[in-house]
């Protein structure tokens, strides 16, 4: 088991390095001198020779690329992404300010969507090709196809403009949470319902299900104990991986409802040309995905006997 964990840890190193290289190089795909852009972004004036020189010295842009990268990486690992170009604050502070709002929106949506996705997915699989199943499938197809920003605006029009029941934007009480969560859940749930359905159907088509039926077990036990328990393994992985959406999964929803989360921060930073923030968000969201993936894999080894002993 320890060997397995050590091996998985080793395997993610190249991926993490790759993510860091990509995030780092985002600032260096400019054709010109990044220092000029920094001056523009920070002071909103035409850069003079002196200013550029000063910035270059200040930020160490005159050093070799590799040195700059290693410097950036060693700081990034400690959560130091440098100073914002537009505000007089460290990048990490800006991100931490926005994290609670994103977390609130994400975990509410996550909990609701998973509960419904499991329920609908299971019902849909058990009653395959019956009316309930068709309903669930159409529902999830719509969930995938309808853009969340459009759905959000429609909901605002119905509940805020016409019925005047709920606020259209803002952050604070429960009433502010309802529409964004509803909007995001619709698409979040749709994809997961499909996944639960297909995993359970796959499990139900296996030979061991026939064995279970041939033992005279009630259908309830056949489905829950024999099929679902096998289907849960991929389902849990899939659900857990979506935790990496925490950071920026809700960009569109946050923008529609002016929700002060990390998604909004990303978009605002792009417009303000505050690229260290953009860089940090790309890096963090990538790393988060890899780490969640790793944790899930290790949990897997705990749940699934095949991996536990197969090593």
């Amino acid at each position: 088991m320890l060997r397995y964990i050590a091996r998985r840890l080793l395997q993610i190193v190249p991926t993490l390095l790759g993510i860091s290289i990509i995030s780092f190089s985002l600032l260096y795909i400019f054709p010109g001198d990044p220092a000029e852009f920094i001056v523009e972004a920070r002071y909103a004036v035409e850069p003079t020779q002196e200013m550029v020189k000063k910035i270059r010295m200040e930020m160490g842009l005159d050093r070799p690329m590799l040195v700059q990268y290693l410097d950036w990486l060693s700081k990034a690992v400690r959560g130091d992404f440098g100073k914002s170009w537009t505000e007089d604050k460290p990048v990490m502070d800006l991100i931490l300010e926005r994290l609670p709002a994103s977390a609130q929106l994400f975990f509410t949506t996550f909990a609701i969507s998973i509960a419904f996705a499991m329920l609908l997915g299971i019902i849909s699989a058990i009653y395959k090709d019956r009316a309930v199943d068709h309903f669930c499938r159409i529902f999830s197809l719509l969930g995938i196809s309808i853009p969340s920003f459009w759905l959000g605006l429609i909901l605002i029009w119905i509940f805020s403009v016409q019925l005047r029941l709920l606020p259209a934007f803002g952050y604070g009480g429960i009433e502010h949470l309802i529409l964004p969560v509803l909007t995001w859940s619709f698409s979040f749930m749709a994809i997961k319902t499909r996944f639960v359905r297909s995993c359970l159907l796959e499990a139900l088509s296996q030979d061991y299900v026939i064995t279970a039926r041939a033992k005279g077990l009630p259908e309830r036990i056949v489905v829950l104990r024999h099929a679902l328990r096998n289907a849960l393994i991929p389902i849990i992985t899939y659900f857990s991986l979506s935790i990496s959406h925490l950071i920026v999964g809700s960009i569109m929803v946050e923008v529609v409802f002016s929700w002060p989360g990390l998604g909004s921060l990303l978009v605002e930073s792009v417009f303000k040309r505050d690229f260290p923030v953009v860089q940090a968000l790309v890096f963090i969201s990538g790393v988060l995905f890899v780490i969640v993936n790793l944790v899930v894999d290790i949990l897997y080894a705990v749940i699934d006997p095949r991996i536990r002993y197969g090593d």
């Binding site: 030979d207 061991y208 064995t211 279970a212 041939a214 033992k215 005279g216 009630p218 328990r229 006997p305």
Partner: protein, 303 residues
């Protein structure tokens, strides 16, 4: 004990109706090991699984399956469920028939917990005794299926099948996918539980020869011969039975000419006639099952 009358199982598919079982009559007596032999596509596995009524949804089934005086096809799903695993046990093929995420001990205990009202502890205790008896080893009850070899998995499946002392055991291709040495072990395994009534489905003639009391041969959805095992291997009656035996490497490796007909539109009359060296004009009509002192055969040669 088990009597099947005019059983038909048809499957509706995109390309037409597949007549997997097409009018089968047979009887399994108490205490015997009845072996159903056939090549792939003969419908033997479909026949077996239709006894338990576990066919997929696109199957249409008609006829009678009488078990202890009751027609299984007329029972409600709930009544049928109480027969499965309790009165009729199913020993499936070993490759993927065990649930990968449950311990083999628990899977073997399940039928007792479900049907005999055992609690988990006493069921497990009994499982350990059966494991001992079948040579699985007590300490392996808490292991998972993937930790077992193919032959050992077959033993677990047998343990699962006999745990409730069922009246009839149906074993589906017990030697499929096993190497020669493992097959010999399976023969030993089935001899250990010999006091029970068994319906064994197999394509493995060597295996059948070592185990069977009576043999039925299935070809293209129909039973063509039923004979006591010894007589069958000494002197098969049906030309197909003969051809099948002759194609064994140890008996000369003589092929049957032609190819197996399609299950969607089998030839009229005797289904073997296009490949049969004795075929004549009367084979265009379907032969009935002729009785010849304790044996039956579906061939005009024995009219």
């Amino acid at each position: 004990m088990l009597k099947i009358e005019n059983l038909k199982v048809y499957f509706k598919t995109d390309l037409g109706i597949v007549k997997a079982v097409d009018g089968v009559d047979l009887e399994v007596h108490k205490g015997e090991r009845f072996t159903l032999i056939g090549e792939s596509g003969s419908g033997k596995s479909v026949l077996a699984i239709s006894i338990l009524r576990l066919l997929p949804k696109n199957a249409e089934i008609s006829g009678k399956i009488v078990f202890n005086g009751k027609n299984l096809l007329e029972l409600s799903e709930e009544e049928m469920r109480r027969i499965r695993g309790r009165k009729i046990a199913w020993i499936p093929q070993s490759q993927s028939s065990l649930n990968p995420v449950l311990t083999v001990g628990f899977q073997s205990a399940e039928p007792m917990i479900e049907h005999l009202g055992f609690d988990k502890k006493s069921a497990f205790a009994k499982v350990l005794r059966i494991f001992d008896f079948l040579g699985i080893g007590r300490n392996r009850a808490k292991d998972y299926p993937h930790q077992f070899s193919g032959g050992m998995r077959q033993r677990v499946l047998v343990a699962m099948g006999i745990s409730t002392s069922p009246e009839l055991i149906i074993a589906d291709e017990p030697t499929k996918g096993l190497d020669a040495s493992k097959r010999a072990q399976v023969v030993g395994l089935f001899r250990r539980i010999e006091d029970r009534t068994m319906l064994i489905i197999t394509h493995d003639l060597n295996f059948a020869e070592k185990l069977a009391d009576r043999i039925a041969v299935m070809y293209c959805g129909k039973i063509v011969e039923v004979s006591p095992a010894k007589e069958f291997f000494n002197e098969p009656l049906h030309p197909y039975s003969k051809g099948l035996l002759d194609s064994l490497p140890s008996r000369g490796l003589k092929p049957i000419r032609g190819f197996q007909p399609s299950m969607m539109n089998p030839p009229s009359g005797c289904r073997f006639r296009e490949r049969c060296e004795f075929a004549s004009e009367r084979c265009r009509r379907e032969p009935p099952l002729f009785n010849l002192n304790g044996r039956s055969v579906r061939c005009w040669l024995h009219d």
